[in-house]
Subunit: 185 residues, 2 copies
DNA sequence: ACCTGAACACCGTTCAAGT
DNA sequence: ACCTGAACACCGTTCAAGT
């Protein structure tokens, strides 16, 4: 069944309905209730798989290079994941699952992504490439920047204002590293 | 009718349905079709009002002070708007309206927010408080950061990892200004 | 110019029942 | 342990019709 949803998600955008999943799995409309408490639980399960895939993509980008270039590589892997898996990304961060208080599993995988970023930043602090400060706060800030870029790009809220997504990503990483203030102010 | 939706949005979260709006307006289920082409058009109209309110809130925060403190004030006004108008904010940036290709009005108001941020940054460049660079790219990056913070906070994806939202906002603005790299590297 | 009522296809969800 | 079928309340949307 999980596999059935995967296909659904890659096919349509947010026609991720219990009945459609059941149809796709060749089973009756009410069968999914044997596996998921309700629609939200289904969506949460799909989102959880998305977060796991995202973390794997980021990990893959890191091993290929380390240091600041590694961090930039992770950032680009994040952007690419979002662009290549638009529907999944929207489910993962959409309003549907905004309230995670009753979804501990999802909270856990989300925290995994954050911990991964925090570990990378702590490592860069060790090599002196990133300054002092709480690595968790820095990680959340970095994640926020990535997620914000992705949202704006996916919403088309930025296109025709900033035609070049690559240039935008470069500028964003530059600002994250060196800031907008003039050097030495 | 517009007023009817306002109330609805402030009341429930995303039970923003045509039929519910009609009920609230004390009119038949199909009456809204005289005013909106379909449900999406209704949601877009509500979102547009949200963007206008957001821009007004940011403008109000700017006039009270200028310079870097002004920029920080605008950032805090943005965060406060999102926290105080969670449902509206989710509608404005939700997946429902992700494709704006057939919603020119919404695209316009979104661009208005961006232009406002870009103008503020250009002004700071004039006073030497912000370094050289394309103010549009900087504006999009700034907006992305704000939106990302809001999303993560609203999703509760961050709470219990970073208990203090205020500290997070301060750290984010610090990074936006001075970066994560050690000074003078 | 604005509204109504009936109708259709689609949901999520429940419940009694089957193997 | 897993599935089915009928049923209920809710949608978005269309269409013929009213004032």
């Amino acid at each position: 069944l999980e596999a059935g949803e995967e296909i659904l998600r890659s096919e349509g955008s947010e026609a991720l309905t219990l009945r459609a999943v059941a149809r796709r799995a060749g089973v009756s409309q009410t069968a999914p209730y044997r596996h998921f408490a309700d629609r939200r639980a289904l969506v949460a399960a799909v989102a959880e798989r998305g977060f796991e895939r995202l973390r794997r993509a980021m990990e893959g980008a890191l091993t290929s290079s380390d240091g600041r270039a590694g961090l930039r590589g992770v950032a680009f892997a994040y952007l690419r994941f979002a662009i290549d898996n638009t529907a999944a990304y929207r489910v993962m961060f959409g309003p549907e699952l905004a309230d995670r208080s009753d979804l501990p599993g999802l909270r856990e995988t989300g925290r995994g992504v954050l911990a991964f970023v925090a570990a990378g930043i702590a490592r860069l602090q060790g090599t002196g490439m990133v300054g002092d400060g709480d690595p968790k706060l820095m990680a959340v800030t970095t994640w926020a920047m990535l997620h914000g870029l992705v949202s704006l790009l996916l919403d088309g809220q930025v296109e025709s204002v900033v035609p070049d997504a690559e240039a935008l990503a470069m500028e964003a990483t530059r600002i994250m590293m060196f800031g907008m203030a003039p050097r030495g102010s």
